[in-house]
């Protein structure tokens, strides 16, 4: 449940991540620093969750992302949390394209808030999703011209945003200071307006929303 692999080329960040995760009860099964090592580690160690930097040696392009995509192709749903100094809709869409859960895409700054970061790691490990608010904002912005999204009330939009980030109903109610039943009502409305099949499972619901956002724009 808590075997974790880390791929990060900067020593300080790698070390920091190792300490942070160990302090929260994870066991770090590997800390690699290049793309090929990462792919090998992902396929051989099958960690419960991996934390992967997009840009890695040897080419310093998007090695980490490519390795993550390749690994998830051969092991569907392999939980991976991708970290980057910048977030791109393009990468988010690629990561979400296979429609299976256990995927995260966050800005590196999110590590600053240890509690939320660990929460995101746990969510990805159990097959959930953790999308950076900035990615969600961009996805929503490029979907904004579509009819159904424009029909949402501002409150529903807030709920949709939080849901797309990968949060459960409980977490959303806490963040937006709403009762859980109110959140449930909002989500039901959102699903009706977007024409999606309702579901009680948090993860499946999030994936449906992300798939919806990903299919347009």
């Amino acid at each position: 449940m808590n075997r974790v692999l880390i791929a990060e080329d900067l020593y300080l960040l790698r070390d920091g991540l190792v300490h942070l995760l160990q302090a929260h009860g994870f066991s770090v099964v590997g800390a690699v620093e290049s793309g090929p090592e990462l792919l090998k580690g992902l396929l051989e160690l099958r960690p419960d969750v991996s934390i992967v930097d997009v840009r890695l040696p040897p080419t310093f392009t998007d090695e980490g992302l490519q390795a993550a995509l390749a690994a998830r192709k051969s092991v569907p749903g392999l939980p991976i949390l991708v970290l980057s100094q910048h977030v791109e809709q393009l990468y988010a869409r690629e990561l979400l394209a296979d429609g299976s859960g256990g995927i995260g895409y966050l800005l590196k700054d999110r590590v600053f808030n240890a509690e939320q970061f660990i929460d995101a790691v746990r969510r990805v490990a159990v097959g959930g999703t953790a999308m950076d608010p900035e990615v969600i904002a961009k996805l929503l912005a490029s979907n904004a011209r579509h009819e159904p999204l424009a029909a949402l009330t501002p409150r529903e939009r807030d709920v949709l945003e939080a849901m797309a980030e990968g949060r459960s109903n409980a977490a959303i109610s806490q963040r937006l200071h709403l009762s859980e039943s109110a959140v449930a009502k909002h989500t039901a409305n959102i699903f009706a307006k977007l024409g999606l099949a309702p579901s009680d499972d948090d993860n499946r619901r999030v994936l449906a929303v992300l798939a919806y956002l990903n299919s347009r724009g």
């Binding site: 840009r55 910048h86 393009l90 600053f112």
Partner: protein, 476 residues
């Protein structure tokens, strides 16, 4: 046939203008130089140039001899210094009139084409007279010969082409370094006012927190949280600056995906079509990326467009980018949109920008960057034909034989009068034939070696000559 006679007649009739013009122009030249009436020089040059240009144009139209104008590029208008004065050598002027006149005068005086024009003007009536029999008998050939004479005196020379190319390169280099410097200044300002200032604030907050740590831990904790928040804001700020310098997607994925990412983030509905087999060179990628980014944001901001199309394709070694939007059109580069900036950026690669934006739209911008693709994937590298490769292989395999054993070694045997003949052909021949055969063998071997080296080297000569000279100096 009759047309040719008409042309010949017109050419001869021109003498009616040409002869008085010649007399006048030499009178003006004499006054300008001998009596110091320099103000007569520029009008004289202008008059002669007009006559010469008329001749070039007629020859271009009547015969297939393309005569290029050989003149050096005009001097740029004088630029005022920081104090608003215009400098010409060591003198300062309040108005640009005198420096401009000085520049023009020097430009005309130092251009060899000015004197070649005068030579043409002086000799031309004689040439026409000499060619008269040919004009009457064979007007076609006569005109052709006359065109060659015109080309000789009025055409561009290698030196004039080089000079105009140097001035073109100088201009584009200045533009490139200028825009580079402006970029650097902008980045410096962004970092100075943004990230740097924020880091100072974070340092101060941390310092205060340190002091409060013992006395008021709660306040210290609040300050630390504030510092963390500020560091997050600094990162956001830095990300924005980095995007302006070199977008990370561009570095990570290359032009195609970077433009796709741009399209996704654009408020417009953008369709992107990219046909690039490999990655471009980094400076080209960046220039094209920022150009497209600017065009898309222009379309959204000023053009009121709802959708756009970006098409990136290659044509041999050239790169072509088309950006079309369905906005209201009427874009005007003179009105200070970002188009001038894009042009400046592209100028460093000899790139051109064509804008078609009728009122009411649609707006189409086409950018053309010649020869920016690496040759190995432009596809016209041109492998040597098979027979040439076999020939080169054969030459390398056999050229040693005539040179060394049959040539030099036989010569050494002969010089030292060694009786052995072994397999040296020359030594088996009768006495008088021996030296010529040895020399022939050496020459044959050297020739074969030279061919083996030259054939592959000259195979792609046109291409690399063309590449070595951006504006096709040798290909014209």
């Amino acid at each position: 046939m009759f047309r040719r006679y008409g042309q010949v007649t017109a050419l001869l009739a021109l003498l009616v203008v040409q002869v008085p013009a010649t007399l006048l122009s030499f009178a003006m030249l004499f006054l300008a130089i001998a009596l110091g009436m320099v103000f007569l020089f520029p009008p004289q040059v202008r008059m002669v140039r007009r006559l010469a240009e008329l001749n070039r144009r007629l020859m271009r139209e009547w015969t297939s001899v393309p005569i290029e104008a050989p003149y050096l590029p005009k001097p740029p208008p004088p630029v005022p210094g920081p104090d608003g004065m215009y400098r010409s050598d060591r003198t300062l002027y309040k108005t640009p009139r005198v420096p401009a006149w000085n520049d023009r005068w020097k430009w005309m005086l130092t251009d060899p084409a000015t004197w070649r024009d005068d030579l043409w003007l002086a000799v031309d009536p004689m040439v026409k007279t000499l060619l008269l029999p040919l004009f009457v008998g064979l007007p076609e050939q006569g005109l052709r010969l006359y065109a060659l004479w015109s080309d000789l005196t009025l055409g561009a020379t290698a030196a004039s082409r080089l000079a105009s190319q140097v001035s073109h390169l100088k201009r584009t280099r200045n533009l490139a370094t200028d825009s580079q410097a402006a970029e650097m200044r902008r980045i410096e300002r962004d970092l100075h006012d943004g990230a740097q200032a924020r880091l100072v604030a974070i340092g101060m907050t941390l310092g205060t927190a340190e002091q409060l740590m013992d006395g008021d831990p709660a306040a210290a904790k609040a300050l630390l949280a504030k510092a963390r928040e500020a560091s997050s804001e600094t990162l956001t700020e830095l990300r924005r600056v980095i995007r302006g310098i070199h977008p990370p997607v561009l570095a990570e994925r290359g032009l195609g995906d970077a433009v796709r990412a741009l399209a996704m983030d654009s408020p417009l509905q953008v369709r992107v079509e990219v046909d690039l087999p490999h990655r471009l060179e980094a400076p080209v990628e960046a220039a094209v990326y920022f150009a497209i980014s600017e065009l898309l944001s222009n379309a959204a901001r000023h053009g009121g467009a709802a959708s756009a199309t970006v098409d990136i394709s290659t044509n041999g070694p050239d790169l072509r980018i088309t950006v079309t939007d369905d906005g209201m059109g009427g874009a005007d580069p003179a009105k200070g949109s970002g188009l001038a900036g894009i042009e400046r950026r592209l100028a460093a690669f000899d790139g051109l920008l064509a804008l078609n934006s009728p009122p009411g739209g649609p707006t189409t911008v086409t950018m053309h960057l010649p020869r920016v693709l690496p040759d190995h994937w432009s596809g016209d590298l041109g492998r040597m034909p098979r027979w040439k490769m076999i020939l080169v292989g054969f030459l390398w395999a056999t050229a040693w034989c005539p040179t060394f054993p049959q040539g030099f070694v036989a010569a050494i045997f002969k010089i030292f009068q060694i009786d052995e003949k072994t397999w040296f052909l020359a030594l088996h021949l009768p006495g008088p034939w021996q030296w010529p055969t040895i020399i022939f063998m050496i020459l044959l071997g050297v020739t074969m070696h030279t061919m083996a080296i030259r054939i592959p080297a000259t195979h792609n000569r046109d291409r690399w000559l063309a590449e070595a000279t951006p504006s096709r100096l040798w290909c014209s």
